[in-house]
Symmetry: D2
Subunit: 346 residues, 4 copies
């Protein structure tokens, strides 16, 4: 009954097999391996972007920070949500990698709204040389609260960014989960909507630790490569990143796993709803925030369920007080586990 | 016939098996997995250092840069060899991670000599607030030219560092190869000699991509953890780093593999010597620099041997001109391959 | 009729005379001049802090950024007001000097309240290694909105900081103006209240360009000196900074000038109030935010008055719409100028 | 008898008068003052560069570090002499401002030779993504050893830089002294020779603390402005920088003062030569390195002469041992002082 995150599950067997299969003889290091060539071809095909520059990074924070550093000067500011992973959960990695750029937090709740984005851009641009200059717009899809921007919403945000000549980065740690929800094409959810660079997640969806960074305009590719090396994120035995990603893309495993996770989460949400839970946001992908009474939480904890309370304290007097918790379902979570979990909610 | 580097070979089967064995169910992320607990216990035992703080980093550059950043203020300078990996092959990663510290290059050839180290320290300390301040002494063992410092030599260098209150870092990308050469204990080659922090390599010796960073004095452990996260080198699915390292340490595999590599290299060196080669430095571990005539190099290249020329150009008029090349033997290299290689030298 | 800022007025004649008087022969560079010795003695006396470490910096941004960098690790966050100069008007200088630390913005209006400070500290401390660590609390006195913290308020804020072991920095660009308002002692407004380091402004109050940075605990003095040099803020002909500051402190000129500025501002505020103006905050020192009708603003602009509109646009249809403006009075502003200005408001 | 440096003398009366003259009423801050307009016009005229972007910085280290940061990416290396001020005397300021770029030291003695420059460039460019990338070539004129590059030498060095597409920066802390020596035009010694940006010194030649940074190609002007602000080197009361520089340029005072300093130094060199001194390099501008016997040095010190010993120790047994010292003559040094000094050498 593990719902704490989708970063703690196992590697999918098809990916592990890809690693085993790649483990023979010598392979040219630093990304010159044949599996990387395969990954590039496949991702360019998937994204309908034959010129895209594509790199692999072992951590999501690395993918985000390096992509942003390539798009952002140190005297600029990145526009992002106040709950963005890059702000809350990366221990100043974006500031470090950009050389001291700022993050301008947009406070419009779960998703950034066009109005809030434009207001933030206007405000940051009003002080000439004294204030930080406007830099990239950073979006997260699936958002940190489990919501999914529609393609229309992404397009609206990116078009505001474009009207101020600002690049757009998409943190797609749960890219596949969002895509499955929207039933959109990768191109529609990225460059056709106006996204310039994307962190295409794999770690949360069945890999050991690999994300792709994709620049649709390859003009900054070499700069990115140098920043990756300087950041110590260029792997010598790179084939083991490439092989993972190749295994992930093969036969659309990435979509299959995301669909599994989303369906499991929908099943969980249905069960929680039946048990009287309220949701902070409508369940859309593989992460939900639901409130249950303290008494139910206590039962769940005693039964061994693992997840994070988002508000309130487990210890407290009132057994009926509703406490919100975050529940994340990864691809490996079974309906049996969910059923077992739900059995404790009644 | 691959002699280009020890960073291009496969993962040892025992390590791959450890990964497969660890690939079940959920594991707490970010280093809270049970394999990491095992690694910590084992390495503390190996190093006879029960208080040591131990971390895993996926790249050698990351291990070095993060360790140095923890030991070095941005207004200081790191003393290192002019051929140090941290200077030549990390694309300014040490400067990046330290926030702009300098590297003071010591020009005493393959190894740093005590005299050269002290002269460099004295020179950098002569300008008060105007010059960079003295910072860590960074040594590499096995050196970038294939030599191995004796324990006595390490002790002499570290004791000079200590006399100026400077910390000592050891880049042990080939730690095991040096240890096997010296037949020393890990403690003798590190903290007993005066080393404060070590990058304990695994990637070049049979792992997929893992190095341990060991601080014998744990007082800076928390700072290191924050710098690791900020540098985007903290893995969520950390168990796959831990399991590799655990598999590497089990039954002294790390020593077995290093011994294999060193023995293969000695065998190669013997063969090259018999073929008339000269060596830049006496062969000691698993990397040698040997000169052969252009004609021999041409034959080797035509036969498919892969290695780096260190001086001169393959294309050239004089077939007898000696050209120096670097040959590295990894654990997976077979005597058959060496025999095949040597057959082309005659 | 210049009310745009207190950073555009002339140097006080007594200060200019001090420069002329110091302009003879050679003087030891980099702060080893006798005027600096005088400044140190005088400021330690003024602050009743015989051990304080004292440095001069030519710009206020430099004073703030260097002081914060000395107090803040790069993986930490600085707690400050959402309208803090360090956030809005220093083009990422604090992020640059700290090596990429974050600024956590506190949204409690003009002044930081104890409740808001504690809430911010608690929130930033909830994510372990993943979020930025808690760093210094940065206060501004006079605030960027013209208000003055009482000694009691400062003490309350600093005591919260202390309860979390966080250092406190005070941006005193208008230190003297606040002191005059409070009729407090420098010690009461700083270290006795719990402030660890202060930027003691001079530029806005009659100097050419000098601020003192004062550390009440001198243990980080040498680090500050190195950071100052590294930031290129150590002057060779330092005597011209020292002489300015010495001239400023002599016969309490600094207090006299602040008193003048505050009194002129109070006189302006009275006149504006009589003309029907509303104030964003009660006038306290030498900077006020007052709203006047668009028609009045237009008359003032036509008459040549210089100041910044804080909300709204001068061009607009409704002549009666109130528009808020910022008015700053420096020491050199005369009552005649204020009278002339006020004559256009009726 | 002060020969320690040209950074310790007084401000020339004409410059001080310019400050006094500028000290009336309000002036727009941050470089929007009329004196700056005058400076820009005058320097563009002097350099025959009507499009040049021109900025004032209060310290030479600031001028150099900001100019280099504008020309250099953080993953690059700056080519400079092993005795360059930016390497030896700026406490890592170039590394700080560039965000961690490296300095590649060229060891060809006093001046960089074309051969040594090209060898360094070739070597740094041989490691692909692993090594630092080639960045700006940084020259110093007058060199740190008192020599002056001829226009032909500068052109040769810059043309090598150009052949690798590298920008050229000239640290002209003693620009005027070199110009007087060469009897060249500012354009010939800079952009016509291939220099892209120059730090045009004033502080060592009669100013309080002002250097101009000149970019002959203004395309990076805005970036420089942002870096200046971010580095806390933008002065609010900027008129006091502008007025100094305007006073310095008026009636060619800058050339007059440099000529004075050079002539005094030549007079000193003649006297020393007559006293049997040897010179490290032929005296050319206002700084010389001469060896005198220990006995003479002792007499000079007892008589109160101030200068730096460059080799050896004043205390020592052998009175005849020659010890090299650095002697710098600033514009304010009189022949009487030199005569007095020389009287002790016989």
């Amino acid at each position: 009954m593990f719902f704490a995150s989708d970063n703690a599950g196992p590697v999918h067997p098809q990916v592990m097999q890809a690693l085993v299969d790649a483990n023979h003889g010598y392979a040219m290091p630093y990304g010159a391996d044949p599996w990387m060539e395969e990954v590039r071809t496949r991702l360019r095909d998937i994204f309908e972007a034959p010129d895209a520059a594509i790199y692999l990074i072992a951590t999501g924070t690395g993918a985000n920070a390096l992509a942003l550093a390539t798009l952002c000067d140190p005297f600029q500011t990145v526009f992002c949500s106040e709950v963005a992973h890059i702000h809350e959960d990366e221990c100043n990695a974006p500031e470090f990698y950009t050389g001291g750029a700022k993050l301008t937090l947009i406070r419009s709740g779960d998703k950034i709204t066009p109005e809030a984005l434009e207001a933030a851009i206007l405000k940051e641009g009003s002080r000439g040389v004294h204030g930080p200059q406007r830099g990239p717009v950073a979006l997260t899809q699936v958002t940190e609260r489990g919501s999914v921007y529609t393609v229309t919403e992404l397009t609206a945000l990116a078009s505001i960014a474009k009207s101020y000549d600002l690049p757009v980065h998409l943190d797609g740690a749960r890219f596949a989960n969002a895509l499955v929800t929207l039933n959109a094409s990768p191109a529609d959810m990225t460059w056709r909507a106006g996204v310039d660079a994307v962190s295409f997640g794999g770690t949360k969806n069945g890999l050991m630790g690999v994300e792709a960074v994709i620049f649709f305009d390859p003009s900054k590719a070499w700069e990115f490569e140098l920043r990756r090396k300087r950041g110590a994120h260029l792997f010598s035995k790179h084939r083991y990143l490439s092989a993972q990603m190749a295994g992930y893309l093969k036969d659309d495993l990435w979509l299959t796993l995301a669909r599994q996770a989303n369906e499991t989460c929908a099943y969980l949400a249905d069960g929680l709803r039946a048990a009287g839970a309220d949701f902070l946001y409508p369940p859309q992908a593989n992460m939900i925030f639901a409130s249950l009474s303290r008494a139910v939480h206590k039962r769940l904890h005693e039964a061994g369920a693992v997840y994070y309370l988002w508000s309130g304290e487990l210890d407290g007097a009132d057994p009926d007080e509703p406490l919100t918790a975050r529940f994340v379902c990864d691809w490996s979570l079974t309906r049996d586990e969910v059923d077992k979990f739900l059995s404790h909610t009644n």
